[in-house]
């Protein structure tokens, strides 16, 4: 598993890249319109892709609608909690499956239900669906299917996390860009 994936926060090279961009803007004193447009298009393009792939569903849009000036970081706050909780559950699942003899099916179902619920709450459709399939495999006592399901689940989760990080990076660039353009109007 990639080292950067399970750590929270931006990857180092990405961080310095957008920081550099911001410094350039600060010096020049203005964001070129083409760049603003590009950022917004990038974000929309990425969102469309994720919807098209079924990675996200309209519940994610609901989250975005709940974000406003009174709670400007709502989506990233919720998603950060989701990452934290999900990784805990994934570790639990893996530990339970590592037991060579007896699998604790009850605990497996409990953790799966929790992961399923939180995934559905943030609109992570694919992760949620894989949890459902995983749960089916547990209920049928199908050990090999369970192992496969766990692998797919971890892979899907990684993909989701990477993409959401990308989304937040683009958003942050846009926000910081606005802050430079309109000094004093900084989001809390």
């Amino acid at each position: 598993m990639d080292n950067g994936v399970f750590s929270l926060g931006l990857k180092l090279e990405d961080e310095s890249k957008w920081l550099k961009n911001i410094i350039v803007y600060a010096v020049e004193g203005e964001i070129p319109l083409r760049h603003k447009v590009r950022l917004r298009t990038d974000m929309n393009r990425l969102l469309s892709l994720l919807f098209h792939q079924g990675v996200l569903d309209e519940q994610f849009l609901q989250l975005q609608q709940l974000q406003d000036e009174t709670s400007p970081n709502f989506v990233s706050e919720v998603v950060t909690i989701y990452f934290h909780e999900s990784e805990k559950q994934l570790r639990n699942l893996r530990n339970l499956l590592l037991d060579r003899e007896m699998w604790d099916y009850v605990k497996l179902i409990i953790h799966l239900n929790q992961l399923m619920g939180s995934s559905s709450s943030i609109g992570a459709k694919r992760v949620r669906n894989i949890c459902a399939a995983f749960r089916g495999a547990v209920e049928q006592n199908n050990r090999s299917a369970c192992m496969r399901a766990l692998e797919v689940l971890e892979h899907e989760y990684c993909y989701l996390k990477n993409k959401l990080h990308e989304l937040f990076q683009i958003e942050q660039q846009r926000v910081l860009g606005d802050a430079v353009r309109y000094p004093g109007v900084l989001h809390p």
Binding site: L63, L66, G117, S121
Partner: protein, 215 residues
């Protein structure tokens, strides 16, 4: 006692999932409700001031709902699947409590199980929401809270009327009842209507229930 000085309603949200708590809190705040979130049925009962031992208090009239509470709660929304005390268990406990049974309760669940839904509604839940809960669901909550507030206001009014009458009737020594629940009032009104002619002689023997409500 916490009296709502503004028209804001206070909702108590119960969910063991931290993400769902954050979500429901935001949904409720966006809809201009005051929110308290707790992670379990036990914590909810604690917050409401209900302890395991004082479930049914037969001597307490059903009119005053805020005996044990520090803060007024206008609606309770709870998840169904929770470890320990489920949302259904919590609902049952609330409905058994004379001081809390009038607070409207809404159940949320990620599973669409018809028998579960009907069981909750039968036990007295006002609504059953499927998760993830949307803004359109939260918009359905206000009528339930308003209805209870109106009922409370009427009961408050009635109590004041009774007290006035009690003072008036003190010299005449006529028995006057305490305020009671709607169903009793309706039932007794029907009874007094059926009784037909009630003379002044037997008035003192018959208990009068002058308060009657049809809403």
């Amino acid at each position: 006692m916490g009296v709502a000085t503004d028209s804001q309603f206070h909702v108590l949200a119960v969910d063991d999932s931290i993400i769902d708590r954050k979500l429901i809190e935001r949904l409720l705040k966006v809809s201009s409700f005051q929110v308290t979130t707790v992670e379990s049925g036990c914590k909810a009962l604690e917050f409401l001031g209900l302890h395991e031992d004082d479930e049914i208090n037969a001597n307490q009239p059903s009119v005053s709902p805020n005996n044990n509470q520090e803060v007024e709660v206008n609606l309770i929304i709870t998840d169904y699947c929770m470890p320990g005390m489920t949302g259904y268990d919590l609902l049952k406990k609330l409905k058994k409590s004379s001081s809390l049974k009038d607070i409207p309760v809404v159940i949320m669940s990620s599973e669409n199980v018809p028998s579960r839904i009907s069981r909750c509604l039968e036990e007295g839940a006002e609504e059953f929401f499927l998760k993830p809960v949307r803004l359109s669901d939260v918009n359905k909550l206000k009528p339930h809270m308003m209805r209870t507030k109106v009922k409370e206001a009427h009961q408050q009014n009635d109590q004041e009327h009774i007290q006035e009458r009690q003072e008036q009737n003190q010299e005449q020594n006529v028995e006057t009842p305490e305020a009671e629940s709607q169903q009793d009032a309706n039932g007794n009104k029907r009874k007094s209507m059926e009784d037909g002619a009630i003379t002044i002689q037997n008035k003192a023997q018959i208990q009068w229930w002058p308060i009657c409500r049809f809403d």
